[in-house]
Structures are given as structure tokens and as C-alpha cells.
Amino acid sequence: MAGAHPKVDVLIVGFGWTGAIMAQELTDAGLNVLAVERGDWMDTATDFSTTFAQDELRYYWRKELFQKPAHETLTVRNNATQTALPMRSLGSFLPGVGVGGAGLHWNGQVWRFLPSDFTARSHNLERYGKTAVPDDMTIQDWGITYPELEPYYDKFEYLCGVSGKAGNLSGAVQQGGDPFEGPRSREYPNPPLDMPYAPMLFAQAAASLGHHPFPHPAANMSRAYTNPLGVQLGPCTYCGFCEKYGCGNYAKSSAQTTILPVLMRKPNFTLKTGCEALKLNLAADGKTVSSVTLIDADGQTYDQPADLVILSAYILHNVRLLLLSGVGKAYDPNTGEGVIGKNYAYQITSSVGFTFEDKILNPFMGAGALGMMMNDFNGDNFDHSGLGFIGGGYIGVLQTGARPIETFYNPNDLTTWGGDWKKKVARDYLKTFSVATHGAVMSHKGNYLDLDPTYRDVFGRPLMRMTFDYTDNEHKMSDYLTDRALEVAKAMNPRDITPRYRKGSWDVVPYQTTHNTGGAIMGTDPKSSALNRYLQMWDVANLFVMGSTAFPQNAGYNPTGTVAALAYHAADAIKSQYLKAPGQPLVQA
């Protein structure tokens, strides 16, 4: 079928947040861009309109907008002595499928990482000495700094119309914002959302203990907003069906609500839905990707040639496609050599529940990123001397909407039924909330991704295998955060307090976060990283890999602000440098 699929300037694999950002930027540069997405086209009016978007069973429990394990899943185990088994139904994380990717049903929590997060290894060694980083903790510096990324963070925040309050404007600390954040060049585009009762009570209690609470930066609109592309978003109505749901109000930023109305009109852009990438094909010299094998909805397979390939299929699929295609050297946990699959990391969370005797909190109202947070114990914002761990996380009350099934059903607590239970929930539902902690996960030698020896996908190809567990560092850190959260909860004077420490091994069953990271990390040296600072593969110059795939370890924040900033940074380098000398590495190894 040569000629039927003429070469394109750019082929984008996967059309979620990063795919849409790259398509918008590279079509602006005049390139002819083709994006392929294995899921369907989806839009607000058709797929999650306000007349039926608020459906807990359909969207969360029956997982309509998420990846279907029947098509592709992965196998999981906590360590190499166990046999990995398939995640048969989704649990711990919920990868997206379809136009917009997971960005369609995310919360909209938009964070910047701390300046010191980008130098996690050298910073901790310098401040705490050699013992701060044990031998098997494989953390690395990113090869990029916060000041270099600042303009790109800013660009994403304005694209999304983030509602928030700056805490540091060009070095000057701002009242009411997060005093620990890195300097930002200007204020958020929109003011903070209206704050409900529970987060306000948290903020008062936290401040009384000397902490620094501030409104969570939210890609949920506090007012109508027109972004720099001219796309309009509507105000959030605090509907409480935000995380894990599409927004019926055009009030949550996604590819659909910020980019696609402009991108889809461009003559030099084409999107194929129902079209899945199966393999990246290397040219004879092994130094470039010459084409990508695609399969259409009716089962036709063909090779699509392209000059430049952007892999933006979400970290789990990016890494699997690299492994299946034999692009880059696979990581070997025994020798520490190889880079594809290396430094997989995640997030560690915990919470402290509280119930008031008489305060009605109306927990059902909410928005994905609505709440009051504090970063006093994130990153290296506090002295870790003698604590036995590095890293940290944010603590706060995030009021996303207490949907009842999710509130009452916990797969790890099978005692929540019967007459007494019924009386308790009737009495307490409106007066109960929790303080959440959201912690970093450092990378470790034994946490990695490779191909499963046994289980296959619908095409008969190996599933990816995830070997992951929390180590002492994460447990100590998370317990420390939970203790701090408990202190704030006590200061709120509730009737009941229920601390829920994260105990034991990582468990694939309960939902935690879709913040998977690593597997093709960025860095300064091709021996220890897969990508250079522009997300370009060291050994394959026309391949750029997007997403949290590039994180050498995870920080204590949600990833997408940093994911998007890295994408914009890469797009700028492609436009200003790569296109002048196509096929060349942007950094000499």
C-alpha cells in the first residue's frame, strides 16, 4: 500500500493532553501533522452533557471513559520474587482512552514542582550528606532547572485559565498564596474558586499551628475565561462530579475545552480516531524512526512514514511501545544498565477522616481542584535531618464532591453494612470529610517496567509488567505527613478522627492516583537516561517522548503542570533548533 499513506512531517501517537499541545505548536510552525488516537472522538455535548454527566455508576464504577483492560492492561507485582498477574479490572490508576486522554476526566489540579525537585539527587546529597541517598535509591537530577521551565509552566496555566493565588511573584512572597512555591513571572489568570466550609476550617486550623494554607491552583474556572488561543471556558458550578468525569459546563480545562476548537480547523492537521499504533519501526541505521505501524478500526494494518515522531500515548503506553519496538536499551534491574523501564515511580497517599458533631459541611458539592492546601511539608521545604527519609508532599482538604458509592464502599473494609452502619451514615455523611496527604515517591533500583513473559494483549503481544512497591523512604515520609495531617485534624476539634496511614505494600485494588512516572527518563547522560532535556531520545533523534515518562522520580505534586511545561519546552526546541537541522541530536552526548 505504498503511496496510500504518504509521509507526513509529524506523526503524533496518542491524542490526550500532550498530543494536543504538540499538535497545536507544530501546526503553528507550518508542519503537516497527523495524530492517531486509539479511542473515539469525544465532546462535551455528546458524551457528558449536563443532563447526564453526573452519573456515578456509569462513569466511575463502570468506567466508561477509561482504558478497557479487555483490550490492554498490564501485569503487576510488588517485587521480583512474585509472579506478576494482570490487573483484570482497573483500580489504582485509570488511564484514559479517546480524544483528550486522561485529561478529559482529570481533576484539574495544576502544580509546579519545586526548584529543588529538579535537582533531587545533588540537592539532597549537598544538604544532608552521602547517607541521604541509599545505594538502591536511583534518583537523578533532571537536566533541566525550574527557571528554564517557568515560562512554559506559565504558558500552560494561561492556556488552562488556572484559578489560584500566586505566593511568589518574581521572588516577592505574596499574602494568601503558597510562600514555598518557586518564583512565578505573573499572577494566575483567574482568582481562586469560592471556598466551601471544610477547606476553610482546615485552613484556620493549619494557620493556628503556624502552617501556610492557600487555595489549591485549579483548572476549574472561577469565572468565564477566554484563553490566549481565543477559546472560551464557562464558570464552574461546583457540581461535584469532576475527577473521573467529563465536565458538562466547559469549565474544566482539557484538550477539548482549550485547544481543539482551534486545532481542528487547521488545514495542516489531521486526526485519525480508532487508530492504534502497534510499533515504531527504526530505519536501517537504527538512528531514526522511519515509520509507525498502525491498525485501523477495521483491522487494516499499515506503516505510516513520518519525518518526526511524537510519542504521547501516556507513560504506560509510551514505555510499552518502546519496549515492544526494541527502541532504546531495556533496563536490567540486576546490573542497573539500560534505560527503558528504569525508575518507574508513583505517588503515596493517605488521609485523616474527621466528623463533626454539629457542623454541616455539605461534602457533595465540590470541584476537582477545590480546596485549601499547605506545602510546609512538601519537597525540601522542611529540615529532614534525622528523619530518615527525603521528599514530602502536600497536605490539605480537597473538596472534590463526596459521591456516595465512592464514599461508602471500600474494597479493603468489608464491615460497612448492616443496621448500625446505616444509622451512622445517615447521621454523619453531611458532617464528615478528610484531610489528604499526597506524597512523593523516589525511584528505586527494584521498581521498574518490562514486558511480561506470560500475559498477552488482544493482538497477542506481551503486556507490560510493573514491578513496584513502596520502600522505607516512602512509608516513613507518608507516616510523617499523616502525623502532621492528624495534628491539623485535631486542631479542628471534630467529634471523631480516623487516621488512615498507608500501610504495607502497594495494592492495585483501591483507586489512588493516575500519577505513574518514569520508564524513559530525561537526564544529562545517555548511559543513565533515555531522553535529553528536550525529551528527545538520545539514540533516536527524530523521536520525542512526552509525558511523566520523563520524570526521573516523582515529586509531591500532581504531574500534569510539569508534563505540559516539558512538552512546551520540547516544542520550542523543535521549532527553534531541530527544524534547522532535522534528524540531529539537540544535545551532544
Partner: protein, 254 residues
């Protein structure tokens, strides 16, 4: 597959599309999207009258999946797990058995979107559901095994035990102390508890939460969607009664 009309009389074309999608995944050949489209240059391909309304079952009191003895079990268990009391209806009165029946008869029961390929291994608790049974098959095997166990112990199916004995049996299932022949008792109880909660608290269009009994019990306003005016009303009860996706009984002419 489903050509009934949406609330306003429009065809549910989008929904049929998704249903084919799940079937395609089972056949093991079709990729996820069957609505393959090549789009570009002319704007987003949105089209009017294609909104993907949810499917709702016929609310008539008749079982599609459960046999007579199975229905007796599920009604008895539901009535113990969320009992009727002075606070209001329980799971039985709220239609939870009908809800579960419809779920098991459909895609959920078939595990249509789950990864169901072998080999099978019991696995560790941290590895999640590992049974070869689909949810529907697991219910069928488990209910038969429950009745067999209670017959052996006290000559009665579960439904004929006293309420206290039923509670005790369910508690042993939850704690893992009660094994069942041929089926992982705890894995099934997890599923049962999940489905009971779903049936009591999901939107009434799915056959449970009848008359929004679950939502009224706790004060959840349902499908309201606009809370703007109430966010800063600290400590004040939300004033409006719940609504479902299909509206409120009081809004229909009956």
C-alpha cells in the same frame, strides 16, 4: 442493540456505538474505537442529536438473570445488608436486587471490559480480582455454594435462616472465615457489597435507589449539577430535595 429513545425522544446512536465497542474488545480483534474517523480542517466533528444518554432498564419487578432460589438469596441478603428501619427503606425496598440482576445480565456481569485471559492464579490480595469467573458466573456459583453450606449446617437455604443467622453468615464471608465450595468467598463478598452500595446509591435510572431512598437517607442532592449559590453558605443545610438524571417523580405527570 438498543434503539429505544432517550429522554427527549432522540435515538441513542452513541450508546449503541459504545456497546459494539465492548463487544469488539471481547472478540479480540477490533481496536477500541469503532467510530473510526479521519477529521481535520473543518472543525470539531460534533453533530446534533447524537448525545449518549444512559441506558436504563425496564423497572418492572421481574428478574432477567437470577433464578428463583438465587432471587430469594439476593433479596434476603440485601434486606440484611441495608435493612429497612425507622430511617426509611432498605436495600430490598429500594430495588437493589433488581439493580444487581440487571447489572449481571448486562456488560458488567459478562466482564465485558475486563481482562479475562488466562492463565489463572489465586495471586496476592494486592493483585486484585484474579478469578476465571465473570461477575455473573461468580454470583451463580457463590449463591449455590452458600445455600449448600447453610443446607448442610441447618437444613435451610440462606433465605430461610433467621435474620441473626443470616447476619452471622455474611459477617463470616466478610472476614474470610466462611469458605465456599468452588469459589473465592471473600472475592465474591467484595463484589456483593460493591453492588449493594451501587444499587442503593446510584441514579434511579438503573433500577435501584428507588424513589431516591439512598440519597434521601444521607442528604445527597443527586444530579443537581449547579451548587454555586450554596458553596459559601457555611453550616447551612442544602435546601432542595434530590433529583435524578430522569428528573423527580413529582415532575412527571405519572
Amino acid at each position: 442493540m438498543d434503539s429505544s429513545d432517550g429522554p427527549d425522544g432522540r435515538e441513542r446512536t452513541q450508546l449503541s456505538r459504545r456497546r459494539i465497542l465492548a463487544a469488539g474488545a471481547l472478540l479480540g480483534t477490533a481496536p477500541l474505537g469503532v467510530a473510526a474517523e479521519t477529521i481535520g480542517g473543518s472543525g470539531p466533528p460534533w453533530a446534533p442529536n447524537t448525545a449518549a444518554y444512559p441506558q436504563s432498564p425496564d423497572p418492572a419487578q421481574r428478574y432477567d438473570f437470577f433464578s428463583g432460589p438465587e432471587a430469594a438469596f439476593i433479596e434476603a441478603a440485601a434486606a440484611r445488608m441495608i435493612p429497612k428501619d425507622e430511617l426509611g427503606p432498605g436495600a430490598l425496598e429500594a430495588g437493589v436486587p433488581i439493580f444487581i440482576d440487571r447489572q449481571l445480565a448486562g456488560d458488567f456481569g459478562k466482564g465485558a471490559t475486563w481482562y479475562m485471559q488466562g492463565p489463572w492464579d489465586a495471586g496476592l490480595p494486592t493483585q486484585g480480582y484474579q478469578s476465571r469467573y465473570t461477575p455473573a458466573q461468580m454470583y451463580r456459583a457463590a449463591i449455590a455454594a452458600v445455600d449448600k453450606a447453610t443446607q448442610n449446617a441447618s437444613n435451610n437455604p440462606f433465605a430461610k435462616l433467621s435474620g441473626e443467622d443470616q447476619d452471622a453468615f455474611l459477617k463470616r464471608l466478610a472476614s474470610g472465615d466462611q469458605q465456599l465450595e468452588g469459589v473465592d468467598a471473600k472475592a465474591w463478598f467484595k463484589l456483593l457489597l460493591q453492588n449493594v452500595m451501587e444499587g442503593f446509591f446510584s441514579d434511579p435510572i438503573y433500577g435501584g435507589n428507588r424513589d431516591m431512598a439512598g440519597w434521601k437517607l444521607i442528604g445527597f442532592p443527586g444530579a443537581r449539577y449547579d451548587m454555586t449559590a450554596y458553596v459559601k453558605q457555611y453550616g447551612k443545610p442544602y435546601p432542595l430535595p434530590p433529583v435524578g438524571i430522569g428528573g423527580r417523580p413529582a415532575w412527571s405527570r405519572g
